[in-house]
Symmetry: C2
């Protein structure tokens, strides 16, 4: 998952449920968006999982609001957002948050 | 998933990977923790999913730092935290964040 610098930094919480169908186009675009986000200046990391019931959570981490805005307005990402609303998501919620504290744990035998 | 009030509010981002085994005890405790969190004053909502590869993301939402601290220090939750480190998680990362903006979308045919 994501290895982030010490806080503060920003997080974009994208919680969603897929509408049925369009799997190949969705999977291709989702993979491309993961790849593309990492090219944006200020990108710090991303964690993205989907459960068997098609609920998904993607958390991306960013240096500042300017880098989030650059990502939001990237032409390929704007196209994906349009397709997301028309074809791919039954619903989603998008939240912007400032991470102020972080702690990690790794099992000694991991 | 979670229906939260207008921001600002707080989010606890718990990203983790399960260690193999102890599934029944884990599942029982995880369900109990979901139930227990909702009894804490200041609890606003929770979203918790796990993917097929045993990576999990749980995001819980809270009114303020005091309510998060009440949850963190609840005796049953403290016991679960100990078991989490000794038995259940290969690793986890815990982040505290302040949600400042939120937007939602629901498909018109959903």
């Amino acid at each position: 998952m994501a290895t982030t610098p010490p806080p503060p930094y920003l997080a974009v919480l994208f919680t969603n449920r897929r509408a049925p169908g369009n799997d190949q186009a969705y999977d291709t675009t989702a993979a491309r968006m993961l790849e593309l986000a990492q090219t944006i200046d200020g990108f710090l990391g991303i964690e993205s999982i989907r459960s068997a019931d098609q609920t998904g959570i993607t958390i991306s981490y960013w240096r500042d609001h300017e880098s989030i805005e650059t990502w939001r307005a990237h032409p390929e990402h704007l196209d994906a957002q349009v397709a997301g609303r028309s074809d791919w998501y039954a619903w989603y919620e998008l939240r912007i948050a400032e991470v102020t504290r972080a702690a990690s744990y790794t099992a000694s035998d991991a």
